[in-house]
């Protein structure tokens, strides 16, 4: 097995300058090299753990537009700040034990210096046996073990999506696998690594990039910047309802009672009044739309109680 070790930035730059042809780097990566040459680039290794997840948050985050996902994983996401995605189950080249080594290596070399991103809830029933990723020392390693090992030694944890933040869909009643969010697992394990929640089903790419940028430029958020659910007020500080594009319908008393009708969607179960997120002004997917613009009620996907507190989804609460 030829495991190529991740090399340090300085070594990489020195090496790259000497032998760009040998490296076989395409033009696509040259701008990044140029930046890297300007010294003093701060590097942030990222271990991205996918636990009990549908992968929708990864799919959503790679929808980031400015910066593009190329900017995020291959270039300095901010001047002088470079993310190094050393482990991501869906994106990384390595597979099998080689991929596990990559994560392990990051932990050992960058203790308390890497960011752990968790996507998906953590199955805790039966000592975590419902979710396993790879093996370590000849034993299957549960997702719960992963969060313990890699959460304890991280500089900070970002939970991407409602499942990682609060349990979300797999934790819905009867929660067959005992799924929990990261903060609850940390409480059980007495781990005090700081956690910032970036919920949503999925997490909006801007919320993720914005949170990362905030940490890179200003350090970990102060308590007053977070709400009681561990979210940045910046993105989750105001309700969907109060900034909804359909407020004029509400004021005029025009309500949709069936799908496909113009009107405020409260009678169809809209959870906008109980949901904090900036979807109405941020919009989704290159700002082409959001749920309400497609005539669909807000389902409260950024909230701690999602989905059970919002069920039945299409009935007025």
């Amino acid at each position: 097995m030829s495991f190529r070790d991740a090399i340090s930035r300085r070594e990489f730059v020195q090496w790259a300058v000497k032998a760009p042809v040998a490296l076989g780097l395409a033009d696509a990566f040259l701008p990044r090299l140029a930046h890297a040459l300007q010294d003093a680039v701060k590097e942030y290794p990222i271990i991205w753990l996918q636990a009990s997840t549908c992968s929708g948050c990864s799919v959503s985050v790679i929808n980031t537009i400015h910066p593009s996902i190329k900017n995020v994983i291959l270039e300095q996401v901010l001047p002088g700040h470079q993310l190094l995605m050393t482990y991501h189950g869906t994106l990384m080249a390595a597979t099998g034990s080689l991929s596990i080594e990559a994560a392990r290596n990051t932990l050992e070399k960058s203790r308390k210096k890497y960011i752990l991103v968790v996507e998906g809830a953590i199955p805790t029933a039966e000592k975590g046996a419902y979710g396993v990723i790879g093996e370590e020392n000849g034993h299957a390693k549960t997702m719960l073990d992963w969060v313990d090992t890699y959460g304890r030694e991280a500089m900070a944890v970002l939970t991407v999506g409602t499942c990682a933040a609060y349990g979300g869909i797999p934790a819905a009643a009867p929660n067959p696998t005992g799924c929990k969010g990261v903060l609850d697992v940390f409480a059980d394990f007495k781990i005090d690594t700081p956690v910032i929640n970036i919920p949503g089903c999925p997490c909006h790419p801007d919320w993720f990039i914005g949170t990362v940028a905030k940490i890179l430029l200003y350090g970990m958020p102060k308590p007053k910047e977070l709400d009681e659910f561990g979210r940045l007020k910046l993105f989750y500080g105001r309700s969907v309802h109060n900034r909804c594009v359909n407020r004029d319908y509400l004021d005029e008393g025009i309500f949709s009672t069936e799908f496909g009708q113009e009107g405020c969607l409260l009678e169809l179960g809209c959870k906008g009044p109980f949901t904090n997120a900036d979807c109405p002004i941020r919009l989704w997917n290159g700002s082409v739309s959001w749920c309400i613009n497609a005539g669909a009620p807000c389902i409260g996907c950024t909230e701690k109680g999602f989905p059970d507190a919002h069920s039945p989804i299409y009935q007025r609460r």
């Binding site: 097995m1 790679i62 099998g96 979710g131 000849g138 999925p202 309400i292 669909a296």
Partner: protein, 496 residues
């Protein structure tokens, strides 16, 4: 002479959706037996029981963030079947648009971001290192182009998501699919902006994606005889063209059907049974999804997977783009499709039978992506402003429904049973359950296992041919492993 037998495990299998482990027994450099094991269980069916039936649309699409659209649609079709309603034209057409955009997104993502790094070296930075040093054969010019295309493909799949989100509100996770149709009231700008996004997608597929796959087909020609599957194909079809209530008689752009032992046959949903001989369940085997039971039996002798083994008439079927393309090639139902498939095979000097292979699956997926994109413009133009998008529905006290559709990865079925106005039973048989299924009651290995068996592995420390075979199926394990009840600890994962 003593043969050298060794068991290797690839765990985790990365660059797929979900959590998967592959085990292979290798004797004299050949895979003699293979086991495909899902390593995450979420328990969706249990979560759905007791809920308002309509909630299934939002919850079941969280099976998968790559392909939520087909789950939303199959779930809705099952509900509509139970409610006794059919969507109006606009509802049907707008769902087709969302599904088509999702196919493009999924196929582009799969080829470039999940599979292509098996064939060329990425740049020497994470997440492209570390990597297995595999047989990367493409010349430097092609290699450099593939890196550019890998990056460009991120933007293209994002555009495909935008095209969908114009109609679905956001992606992933569709907001606008509801029983009776869709909730979006179409406007003229939805149509224009969709068409111009589609143009970018089409240009990429025609000038980059399909040519790249053809280039790899030439360079890796031996991979047209590696990873041969069962050669029985099943498709439930998709893209409804009418509102015939009986799904088996409904006209679909990509038809429902089977190709078995070389012959084209129709589909009888009653012939689908699930075996559990090799699955950790002690409940009845050989049952229809509407009757399926899931009583776990950890440590059950000879069992090795949480996946059941769906079989049609007891036979092993492959599902997915290859199945749909093989059927289209045989039945000529979409003339432009047959023409493109035949021309591509002719240009590459291949027979249709070569499609059952690693490279054949990539080629089938790329061809299908083009056919879907080429059909999408017409779908968009079929949307009629001012016409209804939805019919009202009433949730019955009791009922049952079946929704058959095709996700990008293959045939997808949702079955719902309603009692007291709530879900009393919910079962989904998803594409990867077919493809990644373990050995059935007759000891027949599943399609991926069949494709692995017989493969030559020169270096057991670097089993890249096996990873290539598995990825050619585009497995989606989050979908596949969702059946189990809480029970004893799952301690019997094989430790190698």
């Amino acid at each position: 002479m003593e043969t050298l037998r060794k068991t290797i495990a690839i765990d985790p299998m990365t660059r797929i959706e979900g959590h998967l482990k592959i085990e292979a027994d290798i004797e004299d450099r050949k895979v003699v037996n293979a086991r495909v094991v899902g390593t995450l269980y979420r328990g969706f069916e249990q979560i759905l029981i007791g809920r308002n039936p309509v909630d299934a649309i939002q919850i079941s699409q969280r099976f998968c963030g790559v392909c939520p659209t087909p789950h939303a649609i199959a779930s809705t079709l099952a509900l509509e079947n139970a409610f006794g309603i059919m969507p109006p034209n606009n509802g049907r057409i707008i769902r087709n648009i969302m599904q088509a955009a999702n196919y493009v997104q999924s196929h582009v993502l799969h080829f470039y971001h999940l599979a292509s790094l098996d064939y060329f070296r990425g740049p020497d930075v994470p997440p492209f290192i570390p990597r297995y040093e595999s047989d990367y054969r493409v010349p430097k010019s092609v290699h450099d182009a593939l890196i550019q295309h890998y990056i460009q493909a991120y933007q293209i799949r994002l555009k495909a998501h935008e095209l969908s989100a114009i109609w679905s509100g956001k992606m992933p996770h569709v907001a606008s699919i509801v029983p009776g149709g869709v909730s979006i009231i179409p406007r003229i700008d939805n149509i224009t902006t969709s068409l111009w996004r589609l143009k970018e997608l089409t240009e990429f597929i025609d000038n980059v994606y399909l040519p790249d796959v053809i280039t790899l087909s030439e360079v890796y020609r031996d991979y047209f005889s590696i990873g041969v599957g069962p050669k029985n194909y099943l498709s439930f079809g998709l893209f409804d063209l009418d509102a015939e209530p009986d799904v088996t008689r409904r006209k679909r752009l990509f038809p429902m059907g089977r190709k078995v032992d070389g012959k084209l046959e129709s589909v009888d949903p009653g012939a689908i049974l699930e075996d559990v001989r090799s699955s950790w369940y002690r409940s009845g085997s050989h049952l229809h999804p509407t009757k399926g039971e899931t009583t776990p039996a950890v440590g059950k002798k000879e069992a090795y997977s949480w996946l059941k083994s769906p079989r049609y008439d007891g036979k092993v079927y492959e599902v997915g783009p290859l199945a749909r393309i093989a059927m289209m090639q045989a039945n000529g139902s979409l003339p432009a499709g047959k023409q493109l498939i035949d021309k591509t095979l002719h240009d590459l000097q291949l027979e249709a039978s070569h499609l059952s292979s690693v490279m054949g699956r990539h080629l089938a997926r790329a061809i299908e992506c083009k056919l879907v994109a080429d059909s999408l413009g017409e779908m968009i133009m079929q949307v009629k402003l001012e016409e209804p998008v939805c019919v009202p529905y009433v949730i019955p006290e009791t009922g049952q429904g079946m929704g058959l559709w095709c996700a990008a990865r293959g045939a997808l079925g949702h079955w719902v049973e309603i009692q007291g106005g709530k879900i009393s039973r919910y079962q989904a048989v998803v594409p990867t359950t077919w493809n990644a299924s373990p050995r059935d009651d007759r000891n027949q290995p599943g399609p991926i296992e069949q494709a692995l068996i017989g493969t030559t592995v020169d270096d057991t420390e670097n089993p890249f041919p096996l990873a290539r075979i598995v990825r050619s199926f585009d497995p989606c394990i989050a979908c596949a492993v969702h059946i189990l009840e809480p029970g004893k600890a799952v301690k019997k994962f094989r430790i190698l």
